[in-house]
Symmetry: C2
């Protein structure tokens, strides 16, 4: 990190992913099976291409993601979560739960309902799945 605002772990976290886009990219990888630049670019929130590049580089520099050439297509890059990135799962799940609770326009779907019933179980289960894909 360039400049930390303080030693507070919350502040340190926000220094890394405290913006409107970083966690959406992580969500895409974590919960939506997206792995490439063009897939992120086509997400419903419509991130601008320069910001996407900027965030991917920042997240890679923080070792939250790692970037590798696709085995099948050499002109394609695959972004995967590291353990550090995968450990953001609880943060994502809690934000999802809060967002669903307080936003009328975001009704709970399958995952949202599971979270409502047993958050801990969901985190445990997804965490297990993520472990398989971690790089």
């Amino acid at each position: 990190m360039e400049k930390m605002r303080s030693d507070c772990p919350i502040s340190c976290s926000l220094d890394i992913f405290g913006d409107k886009w970083s966690l959406l990219i992580i969500r895409d990888i974590m919960l939506r099976e997206k792995v490439s630049y063009s897939e992120f670019l086509n997400s419903e929130e419509k991130i601008a291409s320069n910001i996407l590049v900027n965030r991917l580089n920042a997240l890679e520099a923080e070792k939250i993601l790692i970037k590798e050439v696709s085995a099948k297509n050499k002109s394609r890059f695959i972004y995967s979560l590291t353990q550090k990135g995968a450990d953001l799962l609880p943060v994502i799940i809690e934000m999802m739960d809060w967002g669903a609770k307080y936003n009328a326009n975001s009704p709970r779907k399958e995952l949202g309902k599971k979270i409502q019933k047993d958050k801990t179980a969901v985190i445990k289960e997804l965490s297990k799945e993520l472990k398989k894909k971690i790089r």
Copy 2:
């Protein structure tokens, strides 16, 4: 909210507090007994006064905080969490846990160690405390 980027609950949450400052203000109220403009202004991260006003207004507009005149000093305002704001506790705790785990400069103190031992218990306990102060 003015313009939501999508219905995704994570995206909705980020639309509200996806920046470097909002959650620090909430942290100050939640975990540091701070309640007033000048106390927030003097936090170690040194938020600029215009940004502080802007965020307090935004969080109040979202009904995450409420602003009331102090009983003791009429020229002082007291900011308190609503239930909606207090429900951000799990998000804050998870960010704290992640930040402490991955940042060498933010060693765990009392609360951090408690979180490490039994996150659920900490959330339950603090949630109970917060309930007393909710407006």
